[in-house]
Each structure stands twice: as structure tokens, then as C-alpha cells.
């Protein structure tokens, strides 16, 4: 009985982790210049006012860390959480974004904290200490991602850098998408999050990225059960026979084309037969930052190859 409660609690916890993207989109209401103070309309209706340009930023979100460094605000960052492993120059600490400890964060005397979720009373706790906190939740699509880059630009006084990063990402993505021929029939993709077949539907950021490439996501068949991150049954994956399998569990679960083809019944899947099983970095595939361009660059050649074979 006790173990059962743990099971349910675990389920809830997975829900919390994977569906941490339920928050609303937010918008910038300040002028595009770097003149402080600035006010940012964050998610959940809260507005964040930053009095002067921050120089002691603490980031508890790996994606926000990547964005901050990409817009040249890296020198303003004093500490990042234990999951912020990119770029290598980010000052990684033992701070946790899952179980944030207000005291430990406050010890860095931050003038801005960026996080992806308001867990463990983070906003309330930092509010009591008058430390401004910006919540940048998991993006649902590229627009969300661009908006967050703009907001971080405003918050750090690097509006120009943020705008040029956004422009660069937009043009890179457009040229990758343009390089792929229009499919005769949509190719089917299976995106794997772990070796118990959790996947991501088109309602998620990564699902939207596949949609950009014109791919049909087999996880969309399971949206009735879980709109964003369903656990697919093996029978369904095998019978769907996806043309492309993308393994976003190469680091967590050490999966690769060999382990996938050794699974019972999986050898009949089109992607396994043709060797179109792609290893991606778990982190790149689970973040909504600038490296989404790298992700698309890794996938695009496979899509091109399959389209060429089909033609």
C-alpha cells in the first residue's frame, strides 16, 4: 500500500517535470532600448521590474543559461544551476532548479534570478528578499522561444544582441527548412525520450520542430491519453513503422541503433531496417534555446536522404 502511494507520487512528479510547459506566453512591454528600469510582463500575469542593468544573474534554467550566453550576457551571470552544462564557460554550481533553495540562491546576492518554473515557493521567497525573478517556462513553439530571447535581452540590457540572435536563428531555420524537398507522402518520425517509450507530441516544442520539417509525429496518435508526453506502447510503435527514429535518450539511457534493433520485434520498423535511427544529445533535444538550430541540422540530412529515396 505504501509503495503504491509512492508510485502515484512518482507519476505526479513525472507530470510536473514533463508538463512544466503549461504556463502562458508573456510579452515585453518596455521600450526596445536598454534604458533601465524595465518592466517585463512575465508568465502567470506577474510583472517583473528591474531597476538597473543586472550584473549578478543567477540562472536556474539550462535553456535560459544557453540564451543568456548566446546574447552575450554571460559575463553578467554569477551562478547557474547543476543542470546548466552548456556552454562550458557557464559558472555551474550545486544550485537546483528542481528543488530551489532560497537561502542558497540569496547567498550569491543576485540582482536577477531566471528560472523555468516557480517551484518550492521560489517567486514568493525571492519576492520577500526583493530579488527580481523572471520565469521563462518551457516554450511550446519557436515564437515562445524567440519571445524569451527578447525578454532576456530586455532584462539584461542586451536588446540589440537578442534581436540579432533571433534574426540569425530565423534565417538559419528557414534555410534548413528550404533545403528539404516537399515530401510526396509525409515521413513518420518517432521521438524517444527514454527507454520505456515516452515520446513527445506536436503540442510540445520538439514536436513543433518536427512539424517545421513536414514530418508526421506518431506520438500524435496518443494525444487523447496525454496531450504532450505520452508513453507509447511498443506494439503501436512497431506497427506504425516510423521512417525515422530520433533517440533523445542517448545520454540518460545509453540507447543507440544497436540497442534499438535488439529490442523484441523492432527490426521490422522501417527506420531500423534502413538505419535511419538518429542519436541526438538529450540536452539539445529537451531545451528550447538557440541550439535548436543544431538539432535541425542533425535531423535534416536524414530527412533529405529519405525524401531522395522516396522520389
Amino acid at each position: 500500500m505504501r509503495e503504491h502511494h509512492i508510485g502515484l507520487a512518482g507519476l505526479a512528479a513525472i507530470g510536473m517535470i514533463v508538463t512544466a510547459c503549461g504556463a502562458t506566453t508573456s510579452s515585453v512591454s518596455s521600450s526596445p532600448s536598454a534604458h533601465f528600469p524595465v518592466t517585463i510582463n512575465g508568465s502567470s500575469g506577474a510583472t517583473v521590474t528591474i531597476i538597473k542593468q543586472p550584473h549578478r544573474i543567477v540562472s536556474l534554467s539550462p535553456t535560459a543559461t544557453e540564451m543568456l550566453f548566446a546574447i552575450g550576457a554571460g559575463s553578467q551571470v554569477v551562478a547557474v544551476d547543476d543542470q546548466s552544462n552548456y556552454p562550458a564557460s557557464a559558472p555551474m554550481t550545486k544550485l537546483s532548479g528542481f528543488q530551489p533553495n532560497i537561502e542558497a540562491i540569496a547567498a550569491y546576492t543576485p540582482d536577477l534570478v531566471v528560472a523555468s518554473d516557480d517551484t518550492a515557493g521560489l517567486v514568493h521567497g525571492l519576492g520577500a528578499l526583493n530579488i527580481p525573478i523572471l520565469i521563462e517556462p518551457a516554450a511550446k513553439n519557436m515564437s515562445d522561444s524567440y519571445l524569451q530571447i527578447e525578454q532576456l535581452g530586455t532584462a539584461t540590457g542586451r536588446v540589440g544582441d537578442a534581436t540579432s540572435l533571433e534574426k540569425k536563428m530565423r534565417s538559419d531555420l528557414a534555410s534548413i527548412v528550404a533545403s528539404i524537398p516537399k515530401p510526396a507522402r509525409p515521413l513518420k518520425v518517432y521521438h524517444e525520450l527514454d527507454d520505456t517509450y515516452y515520446s513527445a507530441t506536436s503540442a510540445t516544442f520538439i514536436g513543433q520542430v518536427y512539424a517545421l520539417l513536414g514530418l508526421k509525429n506518431i506520438a500524435d496518435g496518443a494525444t487523447a491519453a496525454a496531450p504532450d508526453y505520452p508513453q507509447l506502447s511498443a506494439e503501436y510503435i512497431v506497427s506504425s513503422s516510423p521512417d525515422l527514429i530520433v533517440l533523445a535518450d542517448t545520454k540518460c539511457c545509453h540507447q543507440d541503433v544497436n540497442t534499438v534493433s535488439a529490442r523484441p520485434g523492432w527490426r521490422s520498423i522501417a527506420a531500423v531496417r534502413s538505419g535511419q535511427v538518429i542519436n541526438v544529445d538529450d540536452d539539445i533535444a529537451s531545451r528550447w534555446g538557440p541550439r535548436v538550430v543544431d538539432f535541425l541540422r542533425a535531423i535534416a540530412p536524414h530527412v533529405k536522404q529519405l525524401e531522395a529515396q522516396a522520389a
Binding site: 500500500m1 505504501r2 509503495e3 503504491h4 509512492i6 508510485g7 502515484l8 512518482g10 507519476l11 512528479a13 513525472i14 517535470i17 514533463v18 547543476d82 543542470q83 537546483s96 528542481f98 528543488q99 525520450l193 527514454d194 527507454d195 520505456t196 517509450y197 515516452y198 496518435g221 496518443a222 487523447a224 491519453a225 496525454a226 505520452p230 508513453q231 507509447l232 506502447s233 511498443a234 506494439e235 503501436y236 512497431v238 506497427s239 513503422s241 540518460c252 539511457c253 545509453h254 529490442r263 523484441p264 520485434g265 527490426r267 521490422s268
Partner: protein, 361 residues
């Protein structure tokens, strides 16, 4: 419970009471029918539709003189590599958990005893969490290290609880054991939670593991658990008469010239071995070990000569049905099987309890 049961006993309002008079052999027959029915349903129903004719054809194709053509290889691999091993494993896990639950209830003379009472689940979860955190992806003699660590953790926890329980004096023997088990489970849970919080990047896998791995199990999983389960069930079945004596009291066993402590140890070791093996492969599936034996007691009788064999049959049937629901209700998505066993099992059990003599507990 006893007094209440008698005071409010109104036979006319208890339809299941009619079933209580049926002889054991009728129930055994019903058990086999349930087992066969659940197996057939499990093989026929799944997220991918495979028609009855195709399934029959697939079963008959290997027989040479029938000259049947083989079915589509894609459907054949879904049927034989994915669905049938899962149905078989469901039966093994269900039978094992129900029998282990019954055995534990006898050994501890406690209706709330389940196979995880002495910390088997907490130990398995800790072992698996450690393996996921510190030895990800490694194998030992070709077998993934995670289930092995789960198996070892379960065994270790129960051994620890047993050793600790034996040192407690002044309490009735089983009470000391149960308390030791509770303490060990709490301690292992604490360590497990600590390791998991310190390794947040692995949190998903840990929960996936705890929620159960029937999803990915194939024939290799069946082969991995089978020897332990066969041994464990054999011992429990052989000891069913001694469990009857033990459920009356230690003196009853002693009067037969047998050490009650030894009987207890052998049954606990056997039940733990089987439980550890199925937990290592299937994760922690709650409630089966409690409701199946109690339902048998309520409907058929309290003797372990009846409870053990019928728990095996109905436990296997119940878990096969629960797993069929787990993979079809939300298809093509999966539901955690533990959710099904408790969601369906708890109300069912309450109905059985209300409609029979509660005094039978």
C-alpha cells in the same frame, strides 16, 4: 469486525454469500477458466488490431500437416515478440505476488501483510535507483544491471529486516519482524529519495522503473524471473499445510515437532525470492498481494490449502486483465499497471467485503 459482521448479518442482502457454499473444486475450475479467459483476451486485444482468424492462423502455422500459410511477419512479430511475452509475464507476476501475499499474511498472522511488508519494494527501488544513478547502461553477463540491482536490493532489505527482527526481544516474534521491516523500508526509501534528488537528471528513469517495466519486457524478462518464481511458488505450495498451523499459532506448529521460527524463515525467504524477481522486472505493483488472497478467503475459505492454489490462479488472471487494460484503455498510450490494479481492485474488493461475511477475515 466479528461482532459487527454478526449483528448486521442479513443473508438475503448478500448475493455473494450464495457463492460461499460452492465446493473448492468448483472454484478451482472457475480459476482455470478465468486464467484461460484472461490469457485469450490478453492475446487477442491490444493497441494494434490483429484479428481472431490471424491469431489462430499464427498459432496453427508451425504445425506441418495443417499446411497453413504464415501470417504477415510484422503482425507475427507484434504478436510473438511483444504481446504474448507480456501476457505470460503478467500471469507469472500476478501469480507470484498473490501467492507471496497469501504466504506473508499466514506467516505474520496479519491481514494487511503484503509481499512488500519487509521492505522488498523499498530495497528494489533503492538498488535500481543506485544503478541508474551510478552505473547507467552497464551490463553484467549480458543482463542490464538495473534489474539485478533491484533484485539484490530487495533481498538485502528483507534479510536486514529479518536479522533486525530476530534481535528484538520482548515483543511477539512477528511484531518485531514487522516493525523491523517498516523501519528498513523507511530507511531505504529515505536513501532512495536522497539519491534521486541529488541526481535530478535521472529522475524520470527512476520513476519509470518504479512504475513498472512490463512495457518493455520480452521473452528475456520471462526467462529471467521464471526460475526464481518456480522455486518460490513450489516452496509456498509445499508449505501450505504448515501455514495453516502457523496461522493458528506458533504452538500449533511446535506441537507437530517442527520449529515455527524455521517455517517462518523458509516461507519468508521463498516468498522474498519470488517477489524480488518480479519486482526487478515488473516494478512495484501494489494491491495484488492483498486483494487476491482476501477475496479467496471471503469467497471460498481460510485454509491455506485453498488460499494458495486459488490465489495463484486468480492472481495470474487478475494481472493479465489489468495489463490488458493498461495497454488498451488509453491506446496507443500506456497507463501504469499499478494505477489499474488499485483503481479497479480497491472498489472490487470493497464490494466483495460488503457482500460476504466480513467475519471470514
Amino acid at each position: 469486525m466479528l461482532i459487527l459482521g454478526r449483528r448486521f448479518a442479513r443473508p438475503a442482502r448478500r448475493p455473494a454469500a450464495l457463492l460461499q457454499g460452492l465446493p473448492y473444486l468448483v472454484w478451482a475450475g472457475a480459476g482455470f477458466v478465468a486464467l484461460a479467459g484472461a490469457a485469450v483476451l490478453g492475446v487477442l486485444v491490444g493497441p494494434v488490431h490483429i484479428g481472431l482468424g490471424t491469431v489462430v492462423q499464427s498459432f496453427l502455422a508451425p504445425i506441418p500437416w495443417l499446411h497453413m500459410t504464415a501470417i504477415d511477419p510484422g503482425q507475427a512479430s507484434i504478436l510473438w515478440s511483444l504481446r504474448i511475452p507480456r501476457v505470460v509475464l503478467g500471469a507469472i507476476v500476478g501469480a507470484m505476488l498473490a501467492a507471496a501475499g497469501a504466504a506473508y499474511q499466514g506467516v505474520f498472522r496479519n491481514p494487511l501483510a503484503d509481499p512488500y511488508l519487509l521492505g522488498a519494494a523499498a530495497g528494489a527501488n533503492l538498488g535500481a535507483t543506485l544503478a541508474i544513478a551510478f552505473a547507467p547502461g552497464s551490463t553484467l553477463i549480458g543482463v542490464n544491471v538495473v534489474p539485478l540491482a533491484g533484485f539484490a536490493g530487495a533481498g538485502l532489505a528483507v534479510a536486514g529486516a529479518y536479522a533486525l527482527g530476530q534481535t528484538v526481544t520482548g515483543l511477539r516474534n512477528t511484531t518485531g519482524l514487522i516493525l523491523a521491516g517498516v523501519a528498513i523500508a523507511a530507511f531505504f526509501n529515505a536513501v532512495q529519495t536522497y539519491v534521486q534528488q541529488a541526481q535530478t537528471s535521472n529522475i524520470r528513469q527512476v520513476y519509470s522503473w518504479i512504475l513498472g517495466r512490463l512495457v518493455t519486457a520480452g521473452w528475456d524478462g520471462v526467462l529471467l524471473v521464471l526460475p526464481y518464481v518456480v522455486l518460490s511458488i513450489a516452496v509456498i505450495v509445499l508449505y501450505r499445510r504448515l501455514l495453516d498451523a502457523l496461522s493458528v499459532g506458533d504452538e500449533e506448529v511446535t506441537s507437530l515437532g517442527i520449529s515455527a521460527r524455521r517455517v517462518r524463515l523458509i516461507v519468508v525467504v521463498a516468498a522474498t525470492l519470488g517477489t524480488a524477481a518480479v519486482v526487478a522486472i515488473a516494478g512495484t505493483i501494489a494491491f495484488v498481494g492483498i486483494i487476491i488472497p482476501h477475496t479467496v478467503r471471503l469467497l471460498v475459505g481460510r485454509s491455506y490449502r485453498v488460499v494458495i492454489p486459488l490465489s495463484l490462479l486468480f492472481g495470474a488472471a487478475f494481472l493479465m486483465l489489468a495489463d490488458t487494460a493498461a495497454r488498451t484503455v488509453a491506446a496507443p498510450a500506456e497507463l501504469p499497471i499499478g494505477v489499474i490494479t488499485a483503481f479497479v481492485g480497491a472498489p472490487f474488493f470493497i464490494v466483495v467485503m460488503r457482500s460476504t461475511r466480513a467475519a471470514a477475515l
